[in-house]
């Protein structure tokens, strides 16, 4: 029996991982979110501006929470063999366990009475009295197959059960719980699924059952009459995990394919009417539907929770162009002067305004020219129009007598760009004058009660091949920026015709759709650009130093398709949010890029048709023109907030590597989802994602943090990436940016699989320069490589490359001993070897100076600690064993280091599974963690290791553990934070 240590030692304080269950309580005012053993409660009531996390309760389960049920006392929760009632107001938890796996539960009519259906196809009646549980009865079904899922529903005094076996059958049975028989026969067999079922749900009236399966279908069954199978729904492209009945003959499902789908059924068909996307990674595990509001909440494998408004649809209206104008004329252009207010301009100067009250003609422009384009200054009464003969008209659409006509261009004006900052109105106009040549003017206006004032007119000198597509003005420093159709950016002073600087390939060779100035300083501008290439980029561009290049701080591919615009606004909570819009195939879309959520799609035929878009926080409008018809779409309700993210996730797949920065307040995590994420680690154990980058093409293998601002990651396909931490206190939270990708050298060999760099070790190479790092990597083809990296020049050179055997190498850690660099390498054959790399002499081949077989199979974890000349190597293996070798290093000559073994500790059956993490705490104490989800603390006693403390972790597929001064983090499927307590 293990001795229980201090209660404060290895106390769990946080878990971030898959959202395994969701529930709504208190008339849908609170959303309960289950992650591992952690229950997070959000206030999602309409009266709150933003959903807030109000409580977090850690349940004493040795299983993750698998299901939740609102009940009179708060919440009934179950996970594996555990169950509990949670009083969400007092955080009191009344829990117990039974011997069987619980699939589902229901509350009986009496208070504190529940029933659960288990893996033995049994129903247990449970009663909570004075804080303790009692199993009052157990009712068995005649059939006891291997079950994948089951569901239960109360109807009067009867309990209805549906259970699905691993062998494609669903059993429906029922009994009276006031007088239950000991064994119940099956009423109905439902046959038709071609794979195992993962969820079953009764309709609220008990007449129907829906099921979802690994055959990728949703099936609807009648349990009253034959034929039992009503309809089958195809559409998901992977296994389907959960289903739920909605009101009005609708069903919602979530799947491994990351979609939430709505279905309607009629007669014998199930139709997939709507599909929501926005989760990332893999798997949506859970969903719950609100009965108070038309909202569905979903939980993903990465720990994110999203809400979806499934009722609000985009309002659509269609108006014939011929009804807008009095004479037979053509539509020239249209724009929104505000949301739901569209101003249409005919070629002959007639104008009409369309809003939610209908259409209304306004006095026409008195002109003899053909009109070509109209644009508005947003949320003002002023618009600019242009003609084919080069005249610009600036006027108020409320009073077209308030007009200024300017003969400026000599030919057709092709484009107008408007920008307003405070009370200054800027207008950029463009006409075509030759091959790749344009005449561009920038004008400034202001508006008085009775007239339009032209402040200035400047003809701009353009850089070569510069075709303007976007405009923004920095009033503080009297600058303006213009983006071009070929991805260039130019900086001007207001009032001057010559550009100060031009930068090419801001969006490669694609158009810059919008420019947003995030921050303006004397020496630089921080700008965010949205490009037609689908990217949102963040740049720091120099204002004064003309020869300096822009620094790309962040580059993010938002979507497939093209981006036509973007908007940054501060929300009420002070955070800035980014929206982008554009086209994908024949659809126009609006996307919340900060939360990576599509707000809506509109099938309008594509970007080549004339279109306009306008967006406010509470309403959005889109208009397009085709076949002599104007189609106007608007969202009357606040979709921006309803289709939103309540909780951000971490990684969609297993976390493979994590590392603290030297001061212990920042974290890096790398995952099989190929992303590297920067995380803030707070003093209470909370983990806050800061930003995420994706520069790998396969899963991350290892991460390491060198000093406070240089980071490295490795992966498959011989990928080695270097990052830098950017900290600009005046503007942003911390973020990482990419600096270098090491590409493999060409060789005569190729690999059918991916060649993985499995680990990396970085030390300073002071003998080569103060800013030079020495990098050692190990690979899956048994190769060890040594690189030098110059931090300033970002130059990476391969100095040495050598082979061990043909096994996969899994760990590398460098130790500087005098003038030597010793490399400790572990491999899948269970060996640990120490190489002398001879890093000061490129000509000398590295040499093994010590080797030991420490495990029968792969070394799964390695930890090095050093005390002067004594090196301690701790390992965990796939054989479930741990080992510790105490070695004495001795330099016997200039080119020779010998290793003497002082002590060897070995525990063959430390864990029941792979030991994927070892951590040396002190000379006498060692921590180990395994895929059996046990954490053990070992103490050196004489010549052996003794376990003195045990803890359980809820992280499945444990990949490793790391620590800072106060906390231990175990990562795998999600991660769990423990307080070290007296082990610190």
């Amino acid at each position: 029996m293990l001795v229980e240590g201090d209660k404060g030692v290895l106390e769990p304080v946080n878990f971030v991982g898959p959202v395994t269950s969701l529930a709504l309580i208190h008339n849908d005012k609170f959303l309960c979110c289950a992650q591992g053993p952690c229950l997070r409660i959000y206030d999602v009531s309409e009266s709150r501006h933003e959903s807030d996390l109000i409580k977090s309760i850690l349940l004493p389960f040795h299983n993750r929470i698998h299901g939740m049920l609102p009940c009179k006392q708060g919440l009934f929760v179950w996970g594996g063999t555990y169950f509990a009632v949670v009083d969400v107001e007092t955080s009191q938890v009344y829990y117990d366990r039974i011997s069987d796996w619980i699939f589902n539960a229901a509350e009986l009519g009496e208070e504190n009475k529940f029933c659960v259906v288990t893996s033995k196809n049994q129903v247990h009646l449970l009663s909570l009295s004075k804080g303790s549980w009692e199993v009052t009865n157990t009712i068995s079904c005649e059939k006891t197959p291997l079950l994948f899922c089951a569901t239960v529903q109360i109807s009067g005094n009867e309990i209805y059960i549906a259970s699905a076996s691993a062998f494609q059958q669903i059993y429906v049975w029922k009994f009276n719980y006031n007088n239950p028989p000991s064994c119940v026969s099956i009423d109905t067999y439902l046959v038709g699924h071609e794979g195992a079922c993962f969820d079953l749900k009764f309709s609220s009236d008990g007449r129907y059952l829906c099921s979802v399966s690994e055959d990728r279908t949703l099936r609807l069954w009648s349990i009253e009459s034959s034929p039992f199978l009503i309809a089958t729904g195809f559409g998901h492209s992977a296994r389907v995990w959960r289903c739920v009945f909605l009101p009005n003959k609708e069903i919602a499902t979530v799947s491994e394919d990351l979609t939430l789908r709505l279905w309607t059924w009629n007669d014998k068909t199930l139709t997939n009417t709507y599909t929501y996307t926005g989760h990332r990674g893999k798997h949506i595990w859970s969903l719950v539907v609100s009965s108070a509001n038309p909202i569905i909440y979903t939980g993903g494998n990465d720990g994110s929770v999203r809400s979806w408004d499934y009722k609000t649809r985009i309002q659509e209206s269609c108006i014939s162009v011929s009804s807008l104008f009095t004479s037979k004329t053509l539509l020239a252009s249209f724009c929104f002067v505000k949301c739901q207010k569209l101003l249409c301009l005919a070629k002959n100067g007639e104008m009409s305004i369309i809003d939610n009250k209908g259409k209304k003609a306004i006095p026409a422009l008195t002109t003899t020219s053909d009109m070509s384009i109209i644009r508005s200054w947003k949320n003002s009464f002023f618009v600019a129009a242009a003609s084919n003969k080069g005249t610009i008209y600036v006027f108020s659409y409320q009073n077209t007598n308030l007009l200024k006509a300017i003969d400026l261009h000599r030919g057709k004006i092709q484009q107008l760009l408007t920008y307003q900052v405070k009370e200054r109105y800027f207008l950029l106009s463009k006409s075509f004058v030759g091959k790749n040549q344009f005449r561009v003017y920038l004008q400034e206006f202001d508006f008085e009660a009775d007239k339009v004032n032209l402040i200035s007119t400047i003809e701009l000198e353009l850089p070569a091949t510069f075709d303007p597509t976007s405009l923004t003005v920095d009033e503080e420093y009297s600058n303006f920026l213009i983006g071009s159709r070929t991805g260039s950016l130019a900086l001007y002073n207001i009032g001057e015709s010559n550009y100060l600087s031009v930068w090419r390939r801001i969006h490669e060779f694609d158009a810059i759709s919008s420019i947003h100035i995030k921050s303006s300083k004397r020496d630089y501008l921080l700008i965010q650009t949205v490009g037609r290439d689908g990217y949102v980029n963040l740049f720091s561009i120099p204002r004064v130093e003309k020869s300096a290049v822009p620094q790309e701080l962040c580059s993010k591919k938002c979507c497939d398709g093209i981006l036509s615009g973007g908007l940054c606004k501060k929300l009420k909570n002070g955070k800035e949010n980014q929206w982008v819009w554009g086209f994908h195939a024949s659809n126009f879309f609006l996307r919340d890029e900060t939360n990576e959520t599509n707000v809506f799609f509109i099938d309008c035929g594509g970007s080549h048709r004339p279109w306009a878009f306008s967006m406010e926080m509470d309403i959005q409008s889109f208009a397009s023109y085709r076949a002599n018809q104007l189609y106007i779409y608007s969202t009357a309700l606040n979709l921006l907030q309803r289709n939103s993210v309540l909780q951000n996730g971490l990684h969609g797949r297993e976390i493979r590597a994590m590392d603290f920065n030297p001061s212990g307040d920042l974290l890096l995590s790398g995952s099989e989802d190929t992303k590297v994420t920067l995380l803030e680690f707070q003093s209470n154990g909370n983990i806050i994602p800061l930003n995420s980058v994706k520069f790998h093409n396969s899963g991350i293998q290892s991460l390491t943090w060198f000093s406070d601002d240089i980071l490295f990651s490795t992966g498959g396909l011989e990928e080695l990436n270097v990052y830098r931490l950017i900290q600009k206190p005046e503007a942003y939270l911390k973020r990482i940016v990419h600096e270098k990708l090491c590409k493999p050298n060409k060789s005569n060999k190729t690999y059918d699989g991916d060649l993985r760099i499995t680990d990396i070790s970085v030390v300073k190479a002071t003998h080569l320069g103060e800013r030079v790092l020495w990098i050692n990597t190990v690979q899956s083809d048994s190769t060890i490589k040594a690189f030098t990296y110059n931090v300033d020049t970002k130059q990476l050179n391969c100095i040495k490359s050598w082979k061990y055997k043909t096994v996969c190498l899994v760990f590398a850690e460098a130790v500087i001993f005098g003038s030597h660099l010793l490399l400790v390498v572990a491999s899948t054959d269970g060996n640990v070897a120490i190489w002398n790399t001879f890093w000061r002499d490129p000509q000398i081949e590295p040499l093994i100076i010590w080797i030991k077989t420490v495990h029968q199979f792969c070394v799964k974890s390695l930890n090095i600690s050093r005390d002067q000349d004594v090196l301690t190597i701790s390992t965990g293996g796939d054989d479930g064993a741990i080992s510790r070798s105490i070695l004495l290093l001795e330099q016997i000559s200039e080119n020779s280091v010998v290793v003497n073994s002082l002590h060897n500790y070995f525990f063959a059956e430390a864990h029941a599974s792979s030991v994927t993490g070892v951590l040396s705490i002190t000379k006498e104490l060692l921590l180990s963690v395994s895929i059996d989800q046990r954490i053990l603390l070992w103490k050196v006693e004489g010549d052996s290791l003794k376990p003195i403390l045990e803890r359980y972790t809820h992280v499945a597929d444990v990949g490793g553990m790391i620590r800072n001064n106060d906390f231990l983090i175990i990562y795998g499927i999600g991660c769990e934070v423990f307080r070290l307590g007296s082990l610190r």
Binding site: L146, G716, R756, C808, G830, A908, S914
Partner: protein, 285 residues
């Protein structure tokens, strides 16, 4: 998203194609046999959860090797393969499409053995891994126990049982169950199984049921934890250390002629077959 290290095809995948095995898992049984001599003296063998049939291929080849054709028919080794999924036929193997938890399965298997008990039961059963680890480990444990329940009904005293096991959270509890019936229980991992996988194989030797044990397939076993015991079976690595490493990456000369081999046995009836057919026929939007 690129392929992850867990998903890549390894050296044994290519070897299986070259040597004609239906799946790379064939090498696991071969390597287990090298260590434990499982096939020695085996005349009646049951392969549970057999599809697609690579373990049955191994059994057929190894047990029928060096058998004199003049031996009487009733002396030849007999192999019965059982799975719920349909399986393409294999020479020397009787394939049954049955539910291993159904009570009738036992009598059908024994009838093929002339009502004689079996010498060896093997099971390479695993669910199509869902990714929700709790459910995966639970289902795999249930499959193992179902196979175990059937094995103790058909094995002769001194017989052997080999089954895939997921070494996750509840693995200790499974060891406790197995140790009740067998004198020797080991946890083995062949070299052809990746270190990145939690898969291992439990090798149970010398079947020795308690005197009061009554075989009953109608009562399935379940994982129970009455004493919080932490049973750990000794670990044994199988296979030649100089053989191929399932985690390693091996080079292929660029100038070598490459031959793409067909899949030996594609999935016979995957559950998503109809969904894919509909998608390909563009019947769905």
């Amino acid at each position: 998203m690129g392929r992850s290290s867990k998903d890549k095809r390894d050296a044994y995948y290519r070897l299986a194609k070259e040597q004609g095995w239906r799946a790379r898992s064939a090498f696991k049984l071969l390597q287990l046999n090298e260590q434990f001599n499982l096939f020695e003296g085996a005349k009646r063998v049951v392969d549970l959860c057999a599809a697609p049939g690579s373990w049955s291929q191994v059994l057929s080849r190894e047990l029928l090797k060096n058998i004199d054709t003049s031996i009487a028919a009733d002396e030849k080794p007999m192999i019965v393969a059982v799975d719920l999924q349909p399986m393409a036929p294999i020479d020397g193997v009787c394939t049954l499409q049955l539910d291993i938890t159904h009570p009738n399965t036992l009598s059908i298997i024994l009838s093929h053995f002339g009502n004689e008990p079996a010498d060896l039961v093997v099971s390479d059963g695993a669910p199509d891994v869902t990714g929700l680890h709790d459910l995966d480990e639970y289902i795999q444990a249930q499959i193992l126990l179902a196979a175990f329940n059937l094995a103790v009904c058909v094995l002769k005293p001194g017989g052997k049982f080999v089954a895939k096991i997921f070494r996750g959270r509840d693995v200790s509890l499974l060891y406790s169950q197995l140790r009740l019936m067998f004198r020797k229980v080991s946890c083995a991992k062949p070299r052809s199984s990746r270190a990145s996988s939690i898969e291992s194989f439990v090798v149970c030797e010398d079947f020795n049921p308690p005197s009061n044990f009554q075989p009953d397939l109608t009562k399935p076993l379940c994982v129970i934890d009455p004493t919080n015991a932490h049973e750990i079976a000794p670990f044994i690595a199988c296979g030649d250390l100089d053989g191929y490493d399932a985690d390693a990456t091996y080079p292929v000369e660029i100038n070598m002629k490459k031959a793409t081999l067909d899949v030996i046995q594609p999935p016979t009836a995957p559950p998503y077959k109809r969904a894919i057919e509909l998608k390909h026929s563009k019947m769905m939007s």
